[in-house]
């Protein structure tokens, strides 16, 4: 099997592979460019950018647990102006690599501002709208829970850009299905499922919570079955592409997400455990496809998820 058998058509763009990094686990590519050739990514997904620079939460803001990572970084970023310089520099180094830019804001006006500022960035594949950061006081999961806000936001940002829009959702809202249907209705082009899950950890010896922010977002292998369930369910309810993310650490995991309905996947915490994870997963995925006689990876999307009869 040669490399192009991993090619997928995502939002009318041919990606070399369905594998891309998850926002916040890959910086803006500068560090990883020293580790492996980023041209083998399906797309580059930049770290969340906000209107102004943010230091983030106080330390400690990450904890390793038995089955994953809890982070309370708090959207650390240099702000839109510095980000533009970084991403322009990245574009100059990787002129053919599609870029997804993750946007965070607390109000519609700031999302609009960010999109307008970045509308002319080269190689822009999509804006990924972060509706669900679990470790900020404003502009986090509350955005996703407010359906009225979602409608207004989607309507507004759809009007001001012709670029693709991806909504990144958390599983932590009882209106999840309704929210993704709103996204589809208001012409959001794709979904990223799922963001990290709000969690905490206590030091029993010191009798106190470890994270200064108390809560953080839980990611890593523990959340994989949960993420898979949300991709599976979303595939039942909407007809826009889904990017699966959550605890992926093997080629088998990637196939699981794609068979559940994802057309591409993002690798998150695994980038921290192994900087070469994406490069290795790409190779492992080719080999697994060979082994399973998969001629083109697109053919397995949703294959284990018959829309008509599996969800009660």
């Amino acid at each position: 099997m040669n490399n192009n058998k991993l090619e997928i058509n995502f939002l009318n763009t041919i990606l070399k592979t369905p594998i891309m990094p998850a926002s916040g686990t890959f910086g803006n590519g500068k560090e990883f460019a020293k580790v492996f050739d980023l041209n083998l990514l399906g797309a580059m997904v930049a770290k969340s950018v906000t209107k102004f620079s943010r230091f983030g939460n106080k330390s400690p803001r990450a904890i390793s647990t038995e089955y994953g990572l809890i982070n309370a970084i708090g959207l650390t970023n240099p702000g839109i102006q510095e980000f533009k310089k970084e991403i322009t520099d990245f574009n100059n180094k990787f002129p053919t690599l599609p870029i997804i830019i993750n946007l965070s804001a607390t109000c519609i006006e700031d999302f609009v501002f960010l999109i307008k500022e970045l509308n002319n960035i080269d190689n822009l594949l999509a804006f990924e709208i972060n509706l669900s950061c679990p470790n900020v006081k404003e502009g986090g999961i509350d955005l996703q829970c407010n359906l009225k806000f979602l409608k207004k936001l989607f309507k507004k940002i759809r009007k001001i850009t012709n670029h693709n829009l991806i909504a990144k959702f958390s599983p932590e809202a009882n209106n999840f299905i309704e929210a993704i249907k709103i996204a589809e209705k208001y012409k959001i082009n794709a979904l990223t499922l799922i963001n990290t899950i709000k969690a905490t950890k206590i030091d029993v010896y010191k009798k106190k919570v470890i994270l200064d922010n108390v809560f953080g977002g839980y990611s890593g292998p523990a959340i994989k079955p949960i993420a898979l369930r949300y991709v599976f369910e979303a595939y039942q309810h909407v007809n826009i592409p889904i990017i699966g993310v959550g605890g992926i650490s093997s080629a088998e995991d990637i196939l699981e997400f794609m068979m559940a309905g994802a057309c591409s996947v993002q690798i998150g915490s695994q980038n921290f455990i192994d900087p070469w994870a994406i490069q290795n997963l790409n190779e492992e995925l080719k080999q697994l496809c060979n082994k399973l006689n998969i001629n083109n990876i697109s053919e397995i999307i949703g294959i284990a998820n018959k829309k008509s009869n599996q969800v009660k």
Partner: protein, 250 residues
């Protein structure tokens, strides 16, 4: 930076919940004084950031491990002959002083980086101060005495042989010309902060080798960022040595 396989050559229990591991790497490790590395017990855990203790040759070095969480506990369960993937070398090159009087202060496992730094500074009067909270945590005295004659230990818990009290209380017993001396300090955040404030007031110069929680170790996760007084943000993993008086603790 490279991720390579190492093999555990020896493991010694040197104090309560504290071990010294000696590793042999499959390729040259390229470590030197002041560098650190990440060690990985499996594909599901984050790496553990560890300072280099002793460098024996281009393929052998040791580190000190104190159990304080799931990652370090898993590492402590490894034994001689086991393989341990490591990511190294990490952090920028440490600036070595040419001052004539140098103090090396290590708290707990923060004593580890001091060993190679002492060796790397050849022509100074060197004083090692090893600080511990409890008597059963004391370690490293003989090792440091083998490379430097001035080694003092202080312990928050009363012991028969060592200074009773913290590092600042110990420094207060000494006659130090602070503006002439240079300090290398590594230990808990609390100890570093206290010493930073103490030494800043005395116009002392030196480097604080900061321990901070990090998820990746190579500048991507932003877990270890700290704010400096000049309002710039520094990733601890990219360079964990900070000039005295530059860290913003607000």
């Amino acid at each position: 930076m490279k991720k390579i396989i190492s093999t555990i050559l020896s493991k010694e229990n040197v104090a309560f919940n504290t071990f010294v591991f000696k590793l042999q790497t499959s390729q040259n490790h390229e470590l030197e004084a002041g560098k650190f590395f990440m060690a990985y017990t499996n594909k599901k855990f984050l790496g553990v950031a560890l300072a280099v203790f002793e460098i024996f040759n281009p393929k052998e070095f040791s580190f000190i491990l104190k159990i304080n969480g799931v990652g370090t506990l898993a590492l402590s369960n490894l034994n001689v002959g086991d393989n341990l993937p490591v990511l190294l070398p990490l952090s920028d090159k440490l600036t070595l002083t040419d001052k004539k009087i140098v103090y090396f202060i290590g708290g707990g496992v923060g004593i580890a980086p001091m060993y190679e730094i002492i060796k790397a500074i050849p022509n100074s009067q060197k004083y090692a101060i090893l600080a511990f909270r409890k008597e059963n945590e004391i370690c490293g005295e003989d090792k440091f005495l083998s490379i430097n004659k001035n080694v003092n230990i202080c312990c928050d818990e009363k012991t028969n042989n060592y200074f009773h009290g913290n590092v600042i209380e110990y420094l207060n017993t000494l006659e130090i010309n602070y503006s002439q001396a240079y300090f290398y300090i590594c230990g808990s955040f609390g100890m570093l902060k206290a010493l930073d404030l103490f030494l800043s007031k005395r116009n002392a110069q030196g480097k604080l080798l900061l321990e901070n929680v990090m998820a990746c170790g190579f500048g991507v996760c932003n877990s270890c960022n700290i704010l400096l007084k000049n309002n710039s943000i520094q990733k601890v993993c990219e360079n964990y040595a900070f000039d005295i008086g530059t860290i913003n603790y607000e």
